[in-house]
């Protein structure tokens, strides 16, 4: 039951709960600070400062702004965050009557995007300027999507492009195509492998969690700013853990040891002694002897499965059984006739 966590996986849930506590606590703090008029400092993020400039340039040139919320398989936190930023961009575009185009990879994202952008135009009092076709579903195949969006960028001669979200191999195709038409590009990928491509091809890149800081940076809502502070507290906790682990390992890896935690059954270790300290011939300490390794890789109890046909010992978990389903009246008895 709860032994599962005590044996193996308690670090993950504990850290998750800690992060939740940090975020909720700081949201509360920020809301209280907001009421007194104080503002929390967020460092400058060049890519986000460039949004106004990009949309303004597009308005001057009379060319559309194209936005792509990545290639998600469903509506997840990354897509919602991308759409939050696109809502901000669309708001500015709506004020300047600049055409926009949002290209969606996933049909569920398409429906969510349509509603969000319609709401934005409504809030700006520009609902008559809202074009239903400004939010489009292109394709749910990766390279068909890339081909479609590239074609749109070339035909529409986009002046500004925003690539924010989950991008994979098609990132460079989209970025280079936008570059070929002279568009200002702001990009961010949550896939580390694609960030270098964006850095090479785009004007402004949001790296890592600058993407998540974007909505707090742009709107300065207390909830978002408080959440950002909570995230920073979590990162400090991670840094502290890494530093502690580095120091602890540096101290503990010196010298030799004559005991170790038995990880498996062997000639000298019986099943009931797995996970306990056993005496061994003296040897130099290894990473497995450190506190950090023990904390992050605890040794689980031996569990006997019912399906272990080669093992004669009884299974670890014996449970009561469901009653057998009633035999249908018209069933054929073995050897009998119906």
């Amino acid at each position: 039951m709860g032994a599962q966590y005590l044996d193996t996986g308690w670090v993950g849930p504990i850290f998750t709960l800690l992060l939740v506590a940090y975020v909720l606590f700081n949201i509360r703090r920020a809301e209280r600070a907001g009421k007194t008029g104080k503002e929390v400092y967020i460092r400058r993020i060049a890519g986000l400062n460039a949004i106004d400039e990009a949309v303004g340039r597009a308005t001057e040139m009379g060319r559309p702004v194209i936005m792509v919320p990545g290639l998600p398989d469903f509506v997840d936190a990354i897509v919602v965050q991308a759409m939050n930023i696109f809502s901000y961009v669309s708001r500015i575009a709506a004020r300047f009557s600049n055409p926009i185009l949002i290209c969606c990879y996933n049909a569920s994202v398409f429906t969510v995007a349509q509603e969000m952008i319609r709401d934005v135009y409504q809030q700006e009092g520009a609902i008559e300027r809202y074009d239903q076709d400004s939010v489009r579903f292109i394709s749910d195949r990766q390279f068909a999507f890339a081909a479609g969006v590239s074609g749109l960028i070339l035909r529409e001669q986009a002046a500004a492009t925003f690539f924010l979200g989950n991008f994979y191999a098609e990132s460079l195709i989209l970025a280079e195509t936008a570059n070929s038409v002279g568009a200002i590009q702001v990009a961010s990928s949550t896939q580390n492998t694609q960030t270098p491509f964006f850095i090479a091809a785009c004007d402004y890149v949001l790296i890592g969690d600058e993407f998540y800081a974007a909505s707090a940076y742009l709107t300065r809502q207390p909830v978002l700013v408080g959440s950002l502070v909570g995230q920073d507290w979590a990162k400090i906790t991670v840094i502290a853990t890494v530093l502690f682990g580095m120091i602890a390992n540096s101290v503990q890896l010196r010298g030799t040891t004559t005991t170790e935690k038995a990880a498996a059954v062997s000639d000298t270790v019986t099943e009931d002694r797995v996970g306990t300290f056993v005496t061994i011939p003296e040897r130099p300490k290894t990473i497995n002897d450190t506190f950090m390794h023990e904390m992050l890789n605890p040794i689980p109890r031996i569990i006997k499965y019912h399906t272990d046909k080669t093992d004669t010992a009884p299974a670890t978990y014996e449970r009561p059984q469901k009653p057998a389903p009633p035999v249908p009246l018209d069933a054929v008895a073995p050897g009998g006739t119906q």
Partner: protein, 305 residues
């Protein structure tokens, strides 16, 4: 224990939540669920505007709460088909395990319906372009024509495989014209176009590198130097020549000069610079995703504002 959402096999003792394929009970269940769904939507539309946010937040919390519970609740170990839970705690974990595939399928079903909306949007946009012969209408015509062709040919190909001669069609010798047509469109066209689009990246990498790798600042110089080292280390001819030069100075594996072999420098860059950087960014993205998900689950996020 409660069978809510945990769809049992049709032969199990829970006829209310499941029905055998094609049975009257199943059809009645579908009809009742449909009517309930329509009723629910009607009630939502009638709900006062102020209450809508609360209703949406409630359903969001319930939906997300299931996955949160699944993550935190201890999972069952070595559960057998006819097992009953030993304690209420284990009962909840049994229910979660049974309900997870059903809940996951709800997402797939929703995605399936929404795909129809996406396709409708596609047809509307491009159909209007073709009918009114607007700018670049020929591309829209190609899209519509190829989608119709793919659907028709794909369906006919599938239909031929459902008949009694279906298994024979695994051999090319038994193919009909429609099977060849589907193979030509799918394997010959679609797969090759996929591969061609992927290959275009090679050209774009060349032009992006030519444009981006300039010695404009200290950071740009460091970027260029590390990129050069990594590119050179990928070339076997260069690494061999480089290693040959180093071995010419001192061939001993323990010699200090061996630290300057291309593989060693690249390994150092990868292990000591690149890996920690990627790890750091991953931590930030993971924590950011978690915080974002928490805000969405608790409806603290005011989307679109």
């Amino acid at each position: 224990m409660m069978d809510l959402l945990a769809q049992a096999a049709p032969t199990d003792n829970s006829p209310f939540w499941s029905g055998a394929n094609g049975s009257n009970a199943l059809w009645i269940g579908i009809l009742v669920a449909f009517l309930l769904g329509v009723g629910l939507i009607f009630l939502l539309i009638q709900a006062p505007v102020r209450a809508r946010r609360t209703i949406v937040a409630f359903f969001t919390f319930i939906s997300g709460g299931f996955y949160v519970l699944y993550y935190f609740w201890p999972q069952t170990i070595d559960r057998q088909k006819m097992d009953l839970p030993r304690t209420p705690l284990e009962g909840v974990s049994f229910w979660l395990e049974d309900a997870m595939p059903v809940v996951s399928q709800l997402t797939n079903i929703l995605a399936g319906f929404l795909l129809g909306l996406g396709i409708y949007s596609l047809w509307r946009v491009h159909g209007r372009k073709v009918i009114k012969m607007q700018k670049d209408w020929i591309f829209s015509f190609v899209l519509l024509a190829s989608s119709i062709l793919m659907v028709v040919v794909g369906y006919m190909d599938w239909a031929t495989k459902q008949g009694p001669d279906g298994p024979k069609l695994s051999e090319h010798a038994n193919w009909h014209t429609i099977n060849y047509a589907r193979d030509f469109l799918f394997e010959g066209f679609l797969q090759q176009m996929d591969a061609a689009m992927f290959s275009i990246i090679a050209f774009f990498i060349l032009s992006a590198a030519y444009r981006a790798f300039r010695i404009r600042s200290v950071e740009a110089t460091v970027l260029l130097a590390t990129a050069l080292i990594v590119m050179l280390s990928l070339m076997g001819a260069v690494t061999n020549a480089w290693q040959g030069a180093i071995n010419h100075i001192n061939p001993s594996p323990d010699a200090f000069v061996q630290n300057f072999s291309l593989d060693t420098i690249r390994s150092w860059l990868t292990n000591s610079v690149q890996t920690p950087s990627i790890r750091g960014i991953d931590f930030g993205i993971g924590i950011g995703s978690l915080a974002m998900g928490l805000r969405l689950w608790l409806s603290l996020e005011r989307t679109g504002s």
